[in-house]
Subunit: 162 residues, 3 copies
C-alpha cells in the first residue's frame, strides 16, 4: 500500500502509522529472563502473551471458554507486544529485514482444529507491517496450558540489519 | 553406504536415489506465511504436516485413534515434505551441510510415552539421507491438537552451504 | 558474586565452583540424534530431561502426580544436564557469551498456571552461572506428555565465542 510501483523498501514504521497502530509499552518478563536477545543478525523474542495494560486480555482455552474470534483478538494483542519488544530492543522496526519464524501456541481443549485461522491474526498483522516479501515460516500447535492461563502465546524471530 | 572408505562427502541427492525415494511436491502454506526462510546459513522450515497428495494422510491422536506405527508412517510423510520444501528453496539437498535441529510434535492422548520411537521415523530418514555426521539435536513433545487434526508435525532447521 | 566492582568478565566455570555445583555426566540421546550442534556461533541443545544417574528423577504431570516443588527440582536437574551437554561440546562454559533462548515444556494436567515459578528454576540457575547480563529470552508451555513420562523438558540455545 505504500510506495506502489516503487523499488524503495517499504518502511515498517510508516506502515504502522498508515494502519493507525500505536504500539503498547514493551511487556515485562515474569521471571529471570529478558524479552529480547540479539545474536548476530537474529533477534529472538520471549513468548509473548495477550497482556494489555498490565493484565491478560483473555483467560481460558480455545474450544472451551473462548472462541476463534477471541483467539484472534488475543493473538493480535500478543503480536503488538512482540512488535513493541522488538522496537524497544533495536530502536526502529525499519531495521527488520525479515520476519524469520513465528510460532503460535494455543491453549486448546477437545477438537479445536481451526488453529491456522487463529494463527493468521499474527501472520496477517506481520505481513501488513513488514510486507509480503518478508513473511516468515510458521508452526502452530495446541497445548494444555500457557502462563497465567493465557489462551495464546506468540514466539517471533526477526532478522535485523546491523 | 555410498563411497565406503572414501573421504568424499556423500551426496544427499545420490542417497535419496539409492534409497528409492522420490520427493513429493513441496507443500503449500495454510495462511500468511511461507514454507522456508533462509537467514545467513540457516534454513528454517515451517511446521510440516503429514500431507500427501494435498490432504492429510492420517487424522487423530497417538494413543487414542492412532497407534505408534501410524505415527511413524505419518512422520515419515512429514519428513519427505520437509525435504521437498528445503530442496524447493535451495535447489539441491547437497547444499545441506548439517541438519541443525528437529522438533517433533505429536497430538497425544493419555499415557502415550513412546514418543522417541515415533520421532525416530524422522531422525532415521534424515540420517539415512544426510549421513551420521550431520545428525541434529532433537526435542519431542506431546500436544493437545495440531492443525487440521494432524497426528504429528515436524520442524527442521538446516545449515546451508552458501 | 565474583569480581565485584571489576570489569573482568565473570567465569562461568568459577561460578559453578563457587555454587558448589558438580556437573553430571553428559546425557545420552534416546534415538538417531545428538545432544548438541554448533552452527556459526550458536550452540543448539536437544530437549533435556530430568535424568539423573541414567534414569528419570521424576515421572508424572504437574498439577496431578507432582507439585510445583518437584517440578522445580526436576527442571534444575534438566538444566544441569544442559550445562553438561554444552560443556562436553565446547570444552568450557567460559566460552558461552550469551544464553540466547530457553524453552521450558511442562507436562501439565488441568488448571496448572504456576509455570513461570517452575520455569525460574532453570532461568535462575543459568543466571547464577552466567550472570545477569547474559539472561535469555524464554517461552514456557504446558504439554500433554513428554518422552518417557518426564514432567519437564528444557531446550537451551547458547551463543559461543569462537
Amino acid at each position: 500500500m505504500v510506495n506502489p510501483g516503487s523499488s524503495q523498501p517499504v518502511s515498517a514504521e510508516r506502515r504502522l502509522q498508515d494502519l493507525g497502530i500505536v504500539l503498547p509499552n514493551a511487556p515485562h518478563p515474569l521471571g529471570a529472563y529478558v524479552e529480547a536477545v540479539q545474536t548476530g543478525s537474529l533477534l529472538f523474542l520471549s513468548g509473548m502473551l495477550p497482556v494489555k495494560d498490565g493484565k491478560l486480555q483473555y483467560v481460558g482455552r480455545l474450544g472451551k471458554e473462548l472462541d476463534e474470534s477471541a483467539g484472534r483478538d488475543a493473538l493480535r494483542t500478543a503480536t503488538l507486544n512482540a512488535l513493541s519488544a522488538a522496537k524497544a530492543h533495536v530502536g526502529s522496526l525499519d531495521r527488520v529485514t525479515r520476519v524469520v519464524s513465528v510460532k503460535v501456541y494455543m491453549a486448546t481443549h477437545g477438537d479445536f482444529y481451526n488453529q491456522p485461522i487463529v494463527a493468521d491474526a499474527a501472520s496477517e498483522l506481520l505481513r501488513d507491517v513488514f510486507g509480503e516479501g518478508k513473511m516468515s515460516v510458521r508452526s502452530v500447535l495446541g497445548v494444555t496450558a500457557l502462563p497465567l492461563g493465557a489462551p495464546v502465546m506468540l514466539e517471533v524471530t526477526f532478522e535485523i540489519n546491523n
